[in-house]
């Protein structure tokens, strides 16, 4: 029997190529330089603390005037309506885009990337920018907010619906194709049923996300509770602002709780 020699273990930094070493150093330099440029200095923090405390002091107690609360309540309802209808339209719009862009499912072959690009564009433009665009295009108010949420949802659901469709089981798809089903038949018969749990989960996340972003859309005039918040800050009515912030907190928390429950129910 031949003598077996155990080779020495690989060097400690054998996995680190010169290139990755250079990149690592560059990244560290970037972080350190940025720290100096934009992070709060100890002095600023020291000054900011008491000012923050003063602001909080002026916010208390929250304004609980019934007439004001009623107006806030109506605005909250409007905010939820923006989120709900925006998500609904976004979901409806997402299905054709997901179908057209999902690998192995799309009927557009090499042109599928065009649809994927539209979805990416909808996603990469931030919601406040969409809101500014729609406020300029169709005017101040809730409709601009709804359109914004729709684009936001398209960017989110369009992508994850497509991924769910791509991940649908291969075998039933092939089976239905062998049976002479059309592409659309395969989609409806095999792909969507298989992707459904993932599609539902994505939709619930989209709704949650929509509530959160519809809250701030009012800052740029696209309707909802954010408008009240902006007005309160602009007029230095900090007691009203704190009521609104509390209301937002409750709504977003409630929404997360509700979608969590729904997700658990549907599992």
């Amino acid at each position: 029997m031949a003598e077996r020699r155990i080779p020495a273990p690989p060097g400690r930094f054998a996995g680190l190529s010169p290139l990755s070493f250079v990149l690592l150093v560059a990244a560290a330099a970037l972080v350190i330089a940025s720290l100096g440029d934009v992070s709060p200095s100890p002095q600023r923090l020291a000054e900011g603390g008491p000012r923050m405390a003063r602001l909080v002091g002026r916010m208390l107690p929250p304004d609980l005037d019934p007439a004001f609360l009623a107006r806030i309540g109506l605005r909250i309802v409007e905010t939820l309506q923006i989120a709900l209808i925006g998500t609904l339209f976004g979901v409806i719009l997402s299905f054709p885009f997901a179908y057209a862009s999902a690998r192995g499912v799309t009927p557009f072959g090499p042109f599928a990337f065009l649809f994927k690009a539209v979805v990416s564009f909808a996603r990469t433009v931030p919601d406040l920018v969409w809101a500014l665009i729609f406020v300029s295009a169709i005017g101040l108010g809730a409709v601009a907010g709804t359109m914004t949420i729709m684009m936001d949802t398209l960017g989110f659901c369009g992508r994850f619906y497509a991924e769910a469709m791509e991940d649908a089981e291969e075998e039933p798809r092939e089976a239905l194709t062998a049976f002479g089903a059309s592409r659309f038949g395969v989609l409806m018969g095999a792909v969507i049923p298989d992707a459904m749990p993932s599609i539902i989960a994505t939709t619930l996340f989209a709704l949650e996300k929509a509530v959160r972003s519809s809250v701030v859309l009012g800052l740029v005039g696209a309707g909802g509770i954010g408008q009240e918040l902006k007005t309160a800050f602009d007029l230095f009515q900090y007691e009203k602002a704190s009521t609104i912030i509390l209301a937002i907190f409750i709504v977003v928390l409630g929404m997360e709780w509700a979608t969590d429950r729904l997700r658990r129910l549907l599992r």
Partner: protein, 257 residues
């Protein structure tokens, strides 16, 4: 079940499929190499051979799922290279896969109804909710034939492997095919379930007078459930015998060397 559809001219009825000198390459490798094979109208043919011998490619070639590079495929009296022939042939063919290939989250009945996806108004076969009463009745009949009518409302992922494969058979049969193709229908099953599925399958096919072309790695299955055994190796036919005339050890010899 009565053969209620008028069968086409006698000449065509003579063969379920006729392959002449077909060749097929995949990824630069010759998978089928000048192969001739004729399957009779009510004949059950077992295809055997080592992995990579070209069995699955041959099955796919019969219904035009794998494009051939040479030769001629005639199935159910139609030349597959003719316009529209593939769709027509697939419409009269039942396919059973190695793994049952059911849609797991749908009911057993919905899965059987998928067999109708080639028909006009196919959208009604997407799910049992949409299907017309006549289709639902036909699907139930097919399920009864494989002994699973009582599971129609269950989700497909609640079935055992053998039951799932029986549903896949019902899905193939509901199409009233003239040719059934099965790619290792028992490969994912334990031996007992495999025998049960195969004997049921072969019995129904024989009763309906339908041609069956199936691949298997089980020599006993090949001999028990086929009228004829064809062995492939390196993309060619190396043995073609009536099952009754196969000598002991002859099939095993195909896998040697």
């Amino acid at each position: 079940m009565a053969l209620d559809e008028p069968r086409a001219v006698a000449a065509e009825a003579a063969a379920a499929c006729r392959l002449t000198g077909i060749a097929l390459s995949r990824g630069g490798r010759r998978v089928l190499d000048g192969l001739d094979l004729t399957v009779g109208a009510a004949e059950r043919v077992a295809l055997i051979g080592p992995n990579g011998a070209g069995k699955t490619s041959l099955l796919n070639a019969v219904v035009g799922l794998a494009p051939i590079t040479a030769g001629r495929v005639e199935a159910l009296g139609r030349d597959l290279s003719a316009a529209g022939a593939r769709a027509a042939v697939r419409g009269e063919t039942g396919y059973v896969f190695q793994r049952h290939a059911l849609v797991k989250r749908r009911t057993v009945l919905s899965n059987v109804l998928h067999g109708f996806l080639h028909r006009p108004g196919a959208w009604r076969a997407w799910s049992a909710m949409l299907a017309p009463e006549a289709w639902r009745a036909e699907a139930m009949e097919a399920l009864a034939e494989v002994g699973l009518a009582d599971r129609a409302a269950d989700r497909a992922d609640r079935l055992s492997g053998g039951q799932a494969q029986r549903v896949a058979i019902a899905r193939a049969l509901v199409r009233r095919p003239r040719l059934v193709i099965a790619d290792e229908p028992t490969a994912s099953l334990d031996p007992a379930a495999g025998r049960e599925v195969m004997s049921l399958f072969s019995r129904i096919v024989a009763k309906r007078g339908v041609a069956l072309l199936f691949t298997t790695h089980d020599m006993a299955d090949a001999l028990a459930y086929a009228d004829r055994v064809v062995a492939l190796k390196g993309g060619r036919i190396v043995l073609d015998r009536r099952a009754a005339e196969v000598m002991p050890g002859e099939l095993e010899a195909v896998f040697d060397g």
